[in-house]
């Protein structure tokens, strides 16, 4: 199973499923991170504790723990 945290810098993926609890899921959805959305991994913070992704024209920062919950597939 591939999650967003495993993706290396520059990789383009499509969201398959979000395994987060209700609040976090709503939060992600409000940023447009939902099933079928296409993302690009832009940058990793030191130690890969935080990652930056791009969705549409928006850039979002996520903690590693949150990124792990997002199942993705490569496009």
């Amino acid at each position: 199973m591939n999650n967003l945290l495993n993706c290396h810098k520059g990789c383009q993926v499509k969201v398959k499923k979000i395994n987060a609890e209700y609040n976090l899921k709503q939060r992600l959805i409000s940023f447009g991170v939902m099933k079928g959305a296409e993302l690009e991994v832009l940058e990793h913070a030191p130690g890969k504790k935080t990652i930056e992704i791009k969705i549409g024209k928006m850039r979002i920062a996520l903690r590693a723990q949150e990124a792990e919950l997002i199942e993705v597939e490569e496009v």
Binding site: I18, A20, Y22, N23, L24, K25, Q26, R27, L28, I29, S30, F31, G32, M34, K35, G36, A37, L42, E43, H44, A45, P46, G47, K49, T50, E52, G56, K57, M58, R59, I60, A61, L62, R63, Q65, E66
Partner: protein, 714 residues
């Protein structure tokens, strides 16, 4: 009072339009409100804890406008304080029309909120902001076609270039006077079918409602609580409920999810994609070039250079705050001394003179003294925030701070704490989550502020000699910071226990800061500081003045008056004056408290003089040194460089007690001024009491161990 604009107090006339300004963060709402209302606006802040909704009043043609600027929100949820404020306002308050501000350069994302607002059944106008920027980027939006598709008027504006503003207000007036139109929000066939079933059911039973059946159906499917509550009491509910359950099942099945909200989010996204494809044209080549923001980010959040660059920025801000800020500080200090000197001779009564000069002028002066630092720091923070750099900082540092239960953005208030706790508490506002902010507020005090430096310098010099003093100082600062981080972890595991708040944050586009906006924010914040903290602090300063001056011991005064008169030279005179000051302080309320609490502090090796010094230090840390000076008979006007005070202290205070004393100064409550600011930022005086208890326990326990350990070594 301008500060609290009561909507009911506004002149109630027929042509009064109340507008709710809603939009996602970073779409230029505040700038728009500035452009709309020009120079003559009455801005009032009625604040929640830290999130303010701003009300602006202005007249246009025959209409009185009240615009409520609501905090930015990504979706119609109540996750952050901002979102809660906006959500509650839109649902519960009374207003006529919504202006939804969207960023033209990123329409699809912005429409996510818009489509949710469409189900609110309120009149609405969409302001396509930053249209000039969009044009530059080759994005063309057909506003007329968009208005047609949505059934909502869309107006192109640019708050920065001040274009389209009048057209926007005209459209608001037009929409306000025209009858309400049903917005055209179209869902997928599966959802539309279910809506149709519910609508026909409502029609069949001739259900009476203000909103359209379609609107009710959508809200029922979306699990809207209010709509549910309304229908729950109606007889038709028994039959409606199974229909709804069935409908929800169908929709969830269609979207392959078990969460109806997720299904609707997908529906909205699809609808928005449709709108964007219809109305947006890109005149540029499809080939995507790296945007400026991405180029800057390549440097600023570089895995290796990102943190050093940030540290450099912080260092510069600090240099500015505490070097440039100190220049007017001297003037202010000079001004208040001069004011005291001028006023003193005009008051004949000794007590009143002392109250006015030492109590009021001294107390207020101490507050005003910090203003330059605070202004510079606020400008710095406003710059960090408006340019979009703040999010990068959180991105870079969150990994480290998260280990201690803190948030990446906690760094800024914590570092600021090394300068002064007051601006540090204020800058904790950048933390949007309640728990993150409170936790940060609680440990800011462990970052030793500038006012504690004199105490450290005095004791380090007295007990360690000049060669070692520097290292001792450094150790004090570092151990304070480490202690703060450890205590953050402890608090996180106990008092602030709970699931970690998720960290999902937008990294906005870099923007040049708008000077007018920064000026405005800094000005309001500074005025608020002077007004609110000023009244509290002045009052507190007067209380301390009273405690240390009363009751007067007249026999003592008379006795020393003759002694001073008979003194042979100036030196002896000074000696008697000091002795009088010491004895008077000893018999004052403050001195009595010091003696009364002696048994409590005996395990730490403190005598009553040290007690008193620490207790006056609650008012301000600078006072610790001057109190020690008085008590050890050097005269009130001493500073940390006075050689004789250091000698006196070395002779009178045992080494172990001195160590315990430093530990207490490091860890107990910063000062009264800071504590009032803390209470305001935390949202309740209750927290100030907690802070007092928390820091006192930490200080006492640590000082006790420090004392015992130092006893072994000395």
């Amino acid at each position: 009072m301008k500060e609290h604009i009561d909507p009911k107090a506004c002149p109630i006339i027929a042509n009064h339009i109340k507008v709710a300004l809603v939009g996602q963060p970073n779409v230029g709402k505040s700038m728009l409100i500035n452009s709309v209302s020009n120079a003559h606006l009455h801005v009032g802040n009625f604040s929640g804890v830290t999130v303010d909704k701003t009300e602006v009043l202005f007249d246009y043609k025959d209409y009185h406008f009240t615009v409520v600027d609501l905090p930015g929100t990504y979706a119609f949820t109540d996750y952050t304080i901002e979102e809660r404020v906006t959500h509650d306002y839109l649902c519960a308050e009374d207003y006529d029309i919504i202006i939804n501000v969207v960023d033209s350069t990123n329409l699809e994302k912005n429409l996510q909120l818009t489509s949710e607002l469409l189900t609110m059944s309120k009149k609405m106008v969409i302001a396509l902001n930053m249209s000039d920027e969009a044009e530059k980027e080759g994005i063309e939006i057909d506003a007329t076609y968009m208005s047609e598709l949505l059934g909502i008027s869309c107006v192109k504006v640019s708050a920065a270039a001040k274009t389209g503003i009048e057209e926007l207000i005209d459209t608001v007036v037009e929409t306000y006077t025209a009858p309400k139109k049903e917005p055209k929000l179209i869902f997928s066939e599966a959802v539309e079918e279910e809506i149709e079933i519910i609508v026909s059911y409502l029609k069949k039973h001739k259900y009476k409602a203000v909103n359209s059946y379609r609107n009710i159906a959508i809200n029922l499917l979306k699990n809207n609580k209010k709509t549910y509550e309304k229908l729950h009491g109606d007889p038709i509910w028994t039959e409606l409920q199974p229909i709804l359950i069935e409908a929800s099942k169908h929709i969830e099945l269609h979207h392959d999810t078990d969460d109806i909200k997720e299904a609707f989010a997908e529906e909205y996204a699809a609808f928005n994609r449709g709108i964007v494809t219809e109305v947006v044209r890109h005149s540029n080549d499809k080939k995507e070039e790296k945007t400026l923001t991405e180029k800057i980010d390549n440097i600023l959040i570089h895995p290796l250079f990102g943190i050093p660059i940030f540290l450099f920025f912080m260092w510069s801000l600090f240099q500015l705050t505490f070097t440039i800020g100190n220049i007017p500080m001297e003037w202010i200090d000079g001004f208040f001394t001069w004011l005291g000197d001028v006023i003193a001779p005009t008051i004949s009564n000794d007590d009143v003179r002392s109250l006015v000069v030492d109590g009021i002028i001294g107390g207020v002066g101490a507050v005003v003294l910090f203003t330059p630092n605070i202004i510079i720091l606020f400008i710095g923070i406003a710059l960090l925030e408006t340019t979009g750099y703040m999010s990068r900082v959180a991105f870079l540092l969150d990994g480290f701070f998260h280990k201690f239960g803190l948030h990446g953005q906690s760094f800024i208030p914590l570092v600021t704490g090394f300068g002064c706790s007051i601006p540090a508490y204020m800058s904790a506002r950048i933390l949007k989550n309640d728990r993150d902010r409170l936790l940060t507020l609680f440990i800011i005090g462990f970052m030793s502020c500038g006012a504690r430096l004199p105490v450290y310098v005095l004791f380090a010099g007295a007990f360690f000699g000049e060669a070692m003093a520097g290292n001792v100082l450094f150790t004090i600062y570092i151990s304070g910071a480490i202690l703060g981080l450890i205590l953050a972890k402890v608090l996180k595991m106990t008092a602030f226990k709970g699931v970690d708040e998720p960290f999902v944050m937008e990294m906005p586009k870099y923007r040049l800061p708008a000077l007018k906006l920064i000026w405005h924010t800094v000005l309001t914040q500074t005025i608020m500081y002077l007004k609110k903290a000023g009244t509290f602090i002045a009052g507190a300063a007067m209380l301390v003045w009273f405690l240390s001056n009363y009751p007067h011991n007249e026999t003592l005064e008379r006795l020393y008056a003759t002694k001073i008169e008979k003194a042979v030279d100036a030196k002896e005179k000074l000696h008697f004056e000091n002795e009088l000051a010491q004895k008077e302080l000893e018999s004052s309320y403050l001195g009595r408290i010091g003696k009364l609490t002696e048994p409590i502090f005996a395990p730490l090796g403190f005598d009553w003089k040290m007690n008193v010094a620490l207790q006056t230090g609650l008012a301000a840390k600078e006072v610790v040194v001057s109190t020690l000076g008085v008590l050890y008979s050097i005269g009130g006007d001493v500073d940390e460089t006075s050689k004789s005070l250091a000698d006196n202290i070395r002779q009178n205070i045992p080494f172990a007690s001195a160590v315990a004393f430093i530990v207490v100064v490091m860890t107990y409550l910063p000062c009264l001024a800071a504590t009032t600011v803390f209470a305001k930022e935390a949202g309740s005086w209750r927290y100030a009491v907690y802070l007092f208890i928390f820091t006192s326990i930490v200080a006492y326990v640590l000082a006790f161990f420090a004392y015992r350990i130092a006893l072994v070594f000395s």
